[in-house]
């Protein structure tokens, strides 16, 4: 390269930068490609019945209302357990632990938990919650399994939010004579709360889109029973897509339903993620205290 003229180096740089730009565009193309194909093919399936009715005629007609109910209940249940637990964990790690060896262990545990494949959570949920705790294939088993699965996301977002609270705020509170507990409760948590909420939204999104961890803990192919207790099995959107696409007898006939369900799930999950991303962008670019 030393022998090359400056002119050549400039041209080479331009060339490489365009290749990099193409790589970036390829990702965006993949994202919009998936959304576009699913949405385009899903249009014929969109009707009021699709949203409001239950599947009929061995799942080849009708709608996905029970799946919407199941998915929402699972996601809300999951976050209502994982969010308080995750926030408490993050408060301990950021505000109380300091350099305690326990904190180091917990961080290692959280990081390892974050990397566990979802099918392993499914196996665990099945053997522990479903069989050992005798909860059966139920909403509750699914919620507990998903709570463990989403915990790392919520903890790391909450930690991030706590770290963004300026030290000067804590110092000011101490200077006024507040105890550490009071400082956390009255000063740090309120300041960090909006950031923590992004974690809750990401948890909701993750729980709604999850298939492998729910397949053997909460979801069933088809049920006509309304979900009247936390021990009822549920139908979920992701599981419905999987079932229609792989194990129906009339896979071609249900194709519009598959696309329709996929579009609904896609809108739900990417919508929540967009909301979280926008909130994060807002928080990061807001004026400092």
């Amino acid at each position: 390269m030393l022998l090359c003229s400056l002119r050549f180096r400039r041209i080479w740089e331009k060339f490489v930068f365009s290749v990099l730009c193409l790589a970036a565009l390829a990702n965006i193309a993949a994202l919009f490609g998936v959304i576009f194909f699913i949405a385009w093919n899903a249009l014929p399936a969109m009707s009021w019945e699709f949203f409001s009715a239950a599947p009929r005629n061995s799942m080849t007609e009708g709608g996905v209302w029970p799946c919407i109910v199941g998915t929402v209940m699972l996601a809300v249940g999951t976050v209502s357990i994982a969010f308080p637990l995750g926030v408490a964990s993050a408060v301990y790690l950021c505000e109380y632990a300091g350099r305690a060896p326990l904190a180091k262990f917990i961080r290692l545990g959280v990081n390892s938990l974050a990397g566990v494949p979802s099918i392993v959570f499914g196996l665990f949920g099945m053997s522990f919650f479903v069989i050992t705790c005798k909860l059966g294939i139920s909403l509750l088993s699914g919620i507990l399994t998903l709570a463990v699965l989403t915990l790392p996301v919520i903890i790391s977002t909450a930690e991030e939010a706590l770290r963004q609270v300026p030290q000067s705020l804590r110092d000011a509170s101490y200077a006024l004579g507040a105890t550490p507990g009071r400082t956390v409760a009255r000063v740090v948590l309120p300041a960090a709360f909006p950031g923590m909420l992004t974690g809750a939204i990401l948890g909701l999104a993750r729980a709604s889109g999850e298939t492998a961890a729910v397949m053997f803990t909460a979801a069933v192919f088809f049920t006509t029973k309304p979900v009247d207790s936390i021990f009822s099995p549920v139908m979920t959107l992701p599981n419905h897509i999987y079932v229609l696409a792989t194990s129906g007898t009339q896979i071609a006939k249900t194709l519009p339903l598959q696309y329709g369900t996929a579009l609904l799930l896609l809108l739900l999950v990417t919508g929540m993620n967009l909301l979280a991303l926008a909130a994060r962008d807002r928080l990061q670019n807001r004026p400092r205290f």
């Binding site: 730009c21 917990i106 099918i119 392993v120 196996l123 889109g209 896609l266 999950v269 993620n273």
Partner: protein, 290 residues
């Protein structure tokens, strides 16, 4: 009074925070408890190196080597695509793109990670597979190549996002020093920025690989499902997670097949844990160096 209350709060919070460790321990415990009994039936080498996986035959064969090979092949194809693509995208975002493009571009790439895996699987089945059949003339579009591509799409965001953070963390003064010596921006990127960010990029790649190994729905729907050693890029394969997901619903609780599938799960858990720990190690080392 105050300090004892403070100590109580601290204790309770530590207990709640410890729940992550408890869950991890329970996961490991149950995988071992339900997986180990298979080794009373056959030796570890028969299990890991056995060439045939016919769990429902009589007598059944529980050799998971074809499944391991399937996982390895799919991960190789996925990482071979996702690592260059992810790193290149990150370099473009961090070093080339103007700030306004970065602010839009990075969230868009991260949104790719938000696509539910079952939707990506459906896309692979109904859109990519027919394309492969029509244009490449392969027998079935559900194969190693297709699954690798879909997995790549899912691991690019992980790789790109962490690499971009690592590049952002390289001090501007290093770049300025190189530019002042007459290097072009690209030469600065290759010879100064990338080497300084090497450990972060290493972490990104390890986490990307780990994600590809563990991803279930995509390989379940798109990889083809044949427990054979892949000999070409377009052979169907049956990676470890696909095997668990496809079979666990039909096994009897406590049977041989049940235990075998938990042992498969244990294998999967251990391999992703290995890549995650390596990733943490690389990240930790560079943090200590400052």
């Amino acid at each position: 009074m105050k300090s004892s209350q403070g100590r109580l709060t601290r204790f309770v919070l530590a207990g709640l925070a410890g729940s992550s460790l408890l869950f991890l321990a329970l996961i490991v415990l149950f995988l071992f408890m339900e997986g180990l009994p298979i080794f009373t039936l056959l030796t570890a080498s028969d299990f890991f190196l056995g060439m045939s996986w016919y769990p429902t035959a009589n007598p059944p064969d529980f050799g998971i080597f074809p499944l391991i090979a399937g996982s390895a092949a799919v991960t190789l194809v996925a990482s071979g695509t996702a690592i260059p693509l992810g790193v290149m995208t990150a370099v473009w975002l961090a070093e080339v793109a103007p700030a306004s493009m970065r602010r839009i571009g990075k969230p868009l790439v991260e949104l790719l990670a938000a696509l539910p895996s079952v939707v990506v699987g459906l896309f692979g089945m109904v859109v990519v597979a027919p394309l492969l059949q029509d244009y490449l003339g392969v027998d079935s579009g559900l194969n190693l190549f297709n699954a690798g591509l879909m997995l790549a799409m899912m691991s690019v965001p992980t790789i790109c996002s962490i690499t971009e953070d690592a590049l952002q963390a390289v001090p501007v003064s290093l770049r300025e020093a190189s530019l002042a010596l007459g290097a072009t921006r690209w030469e600065t990127t290759v010879k100064v920025v990338l080497p300084s960010a090497a450990s972060g990029i290493g972490t990104a790649c390890m986490l990307g690989i780990s994600r590809s190994i563990g991803e279930t729905m995509v390989v379940l729907m798109v990889a083809g499902g044949a427990s054979l050693l892949p000999l070409s890029l377009f052979d169907p394969v049956r990676p470890l997670p696909a095997s668990i997901a496809a079979e666990i619903a039909e096994v009897s609780f406590g049977g041989e097949h049940y235990h075998a599938l938990f042992a498969v799960g244990l294998t999967l858990f251990m391999s992703t844990l290995l890549f995650n720990l390596v990733a943490l190690r690389i990240a930790g080392n560079s943090a200590e160096k400052g």
